[in-house]
Structures are given as C-alpha cells and as structure tokens.
Symmetry: C2
Subunit: 228 residues, 2 copies
DNA sequence: CGGGGCCTTGACGTGATTCAATAAAGGTGG
DNA sequence: CCACCTTTATTGAATCACGTCAAGGCCCCG
C-alpha cells in the first residue's frame, strides 16, 4: 500500500483535494496505491461493484458504456491530473461504465472506505464533493444535448472549441488518443470524423496533424459550426 | 411565503427528505411557497442565476437545452412528486436548462439559502444529497449512451421498458405528455415516433392509445429492441 | 357543423453508416 | 537502414435511417 509522496501531491491540483489539510491527506495516502497498466488493460467493468476511485498520473482512461445491441460508446476520456469514478462512492453501488487504459497508465487508487470515513469526520470537506458532482452533472446535460441534436460537423467543431484556450487567436489542440477513440467519444464513426476533418481542412479552418489540430481562427470555426 | 402543511408533507416521498426530522422540515417550510403556473410558462431559463429548486405537486415540467443553431432538446421530463434543479445549489451557479410548464403546474419553491443553511448545521443530511446527485449522474451517463449509439426504435423501446414495472407481464405505460414532447425527450421527430409506434403495433408488441401504451409482453419488447 | 390542434401517413431528400479498397504510419527483426 | 507486417487513417460508392415537406384524418370544443 501507500504511494510515493511526490506523485501523491499532485492530487492537490484537483478542486476536490486542494483545500485538504496536509495531515488529513497523509492519512488518506496510507491507504492508497499506485497502479501501472498497459494499453487495453481494463481497470473495472460496467456493472461491477465499486471499491475505489482513481487519479490519473499519466496516460489516458476511456470510460465507455455498452448498449443492449453491443454498441460501445465512449462517454468520457480522462486526462492526466483528473479524478474519475468518484461519484460511485456515494451510493455504495456499481460502476456505470467500463474503464480502459490508453497508453501506459499510471494511476493512484483511492479506496472509498477510508475516504468516506474522513468525510464523515470532517463534514466541511463534503461540500467540495457536491461542487464536483454538480460540475459533472452540467457536463453531462450538455453532452446529452450535443449527442441528440447536433450534427457530426457541429460536434467535432464544438469539441475542438472546448479544448481551445478561452481567448481567441491561433490555438493548437492536442488529440487525446487515436482518432477512432475520439470518434467514439463524439458518437460518430471514424470514417465520418475523417470526412469532417477533411472539410475543415478544405475550408481553411483547421490543419490536422497526427496528434494535434491547429486552429488559426477559433472565431471563424465557431461561425462555421453554427451553420451546420 | 410558506406552504400549506398537507402538500408540503409530500416532500417526504422523496429519498432526499424522507429521513428529515419533522422540526427541521418545518423550519424549511417557513421559507417555501407554492406556485401555480399554466402550460408554456417559463419557470427559469438556461443560464439564469439559480436561487431555488422545486418540487412538482401536479403537472409536468420540461427541462430543455438549446444548441448554438437554435435546436431545442428536452433533457428530462419531471413528473409529480419529483424534485428538480437541486444540484444547482451546490455551485451557486446558473441553471443549465430551461424549465417550461406542461399542463397546469403546482410547484413548491424551495430557496437554496435556508436549505443549505440546514445542511451545514446537520451534515448527516448532506449524504442524502450525494446519493441523489449520484443517481442523476448515472441516469445521464445512460442517457448519453442512448442518444449517441441507439436507434430511434431502440430508444422508444427502452423508454417504454424503463416505465414498465420490474416484474414481467402485461403493463400499461402512461405517456407523460403530448407525443411531440415525448419525441423531443427521446431526441427524435414526432413523425419518427409515430412510425416507431406503428411498427410496434404491427408487430403486436404494443397497443398505442391516446395517453398510454399497453405492453402485453415486456420480454418480447426487450428482444425486439436488441435486434435494432 | 366547422375550425384548430394533434397525430398519422406517404413521398422525397440528406447526412451518416457501411463496406471495401488504398494509403500512410509505427513497430520488429534481420 | 530496409523489408515486412500490423495498425490506423483516408477516400469512394452504395445503403440506410431519420428528417423534411405536405396532405389528410381524428378528436375535442365551441
């Protein structure tokens, strides 16, 4: 058990843990461990009982959910320095998604039991959780809308704009993983994503590289999206 | 201000308030009021500052969200005895959706300020909130998957099955509102919903009435859905 | 009886998927 | 460094599901 001190400190980058006192964090650290996993490793599967949540030190985690007909949808792509599966702890329930590794992944595993125990003792920390859950709620509400009413073009454009820095001006968006996974995240097929990228390139709105997309004029992209 | 005692007791039907002590509930009641609204009335709009959440005594509330291109998506249809907009309180933020009345609506308005004050004083009640938020999170994760990978047929079937009692055997599903609104909820057009219903009728899987749908064999419907 | 919603049905158009072929990139071992 | 293989990305043509447009039916209410 336990984790090296240095990587553990990166938890302080999250809104959830930032305000935690050092000694409380140290108590939690004693129950945590780091995991090293390869591409394709499955951390947990949809429907299995949840006992811990995770923090990504490196690599990417794909959270996906399958339909009755066997179709897979990537609900979210978790980047380094992000937490995931936190909400599962508050219902003693099951993971609603499957977590798969993309690239070599280093994770911190945080068991629910000691974590919840600390929250019970220090209720003021609980409010941070509510904020976190609310943010995810908003994210998902947005996601539902996007998936149901927006075209493939609009979804791709909106994804790119989401990743852009907030000020306007040339921006570079790093792609989180393979284009196939990005397509699944956007609820479209890889072929369709290719075609959308081709249109964006043709219209001079984006330059598509292997692992990144350059956007010379985000404002123009915003306008382009609205017309689709 | 304040609400008649009788309708207020119906809050106890919600998982959130069920465990609340009577005196605590009475304190909250003093800050609440009932609202009576007509079809089409807008309770709050997407992006406006949130100051209260609501409990539905009668009528239906449509929660919708608009896209850049002006498209409307009904994210959720709130039924009597349900709470909504609760999560907004934990971020002091804005409503992520627009709330519109469907039918004559009676609501209880519960301001965030006194509610949050009570939670601060009685932290054990906060855990109930986490559970509620987690459930909504799961609901939305499911919704995202449905909207992005499932066909119109599958979405309608899954909606009907969700409304069925859990045991198998003939069931009647009450439609929450106009078919047009249900279509918006499912992310399809009214015409498409009509055609799906027609297919279900043709295949003997459902009898469609004006305000309800009869399902003689839910298990058969489940199988039908998987094939689409 | 007549008008206005709401629902249904049909013909047609469009955008996304599917299938298939090709091209490019990355990894491996000689 | 190059030949070879695997994986990933692109492109084209055919197909399919859903949306759009338009007409007609049904039901409620005056």
């Amino acid at each position: 058990m336990s984790v090296d001190k240095l990587p553990f400190q990166r938890l302080l980058h999250t809104p959830i843990f930032k305000p935690w006192p050092a000694d409380t964090l140290a108590r939690l650290q004693a129950h945590c461990q780091t995991l090293n996993l390869r591409t394709g490793s499955v951390l947990f599967t949809e429907g299995s009982a949840g006992s811990a949540f995770y923090f990504v030190l490196s690599g990417r985690i794909l959270l996906s959910s399958g339909s009755a007909a066997g179709q897979e949808k990537i609900v979210e792509i978790i980047q380094p320095d992000q937490l995931f599966a936190l909400a599962v702890g508050f219902l003693g329930k099951k993971y609603p998604v499957t977590a798969t590794c993309e690239g070599r992944c280093e994770l911190i595993e945080i068991p629910f039991a000691p974590f919840l125990q600390i929250l019970r003792e220090q209720p003021e920390l609980t409010w941070l959780m509510m904020g976190n859950l609310s943010i995810r709620l908003n994210f998902l509400v947005n996601e539902v809308r996007r998936m149901s009413v927006e075209s493939a073009d609009a979804r791709v454009a909106e994804y790119l704009l989401d990743q852009c820095p907030h000020w306007d001006g040339p921006a570079r968006v790093e792609l989180p993983c393979t284009k196939a996974a990005l397509a699944a995240r956007l609820g479209i097929k890889p072929e369709t994503l290719s075609r959308v990228f081709a249109r964006l390139r043709r219209d001079g709105l984006a330059e598509i590289g292997r692992l990144h997309v350059d956007i010379p004029d985000p404002e123009a992209l915003r306008a382009w999206r609205s017309g689709r």
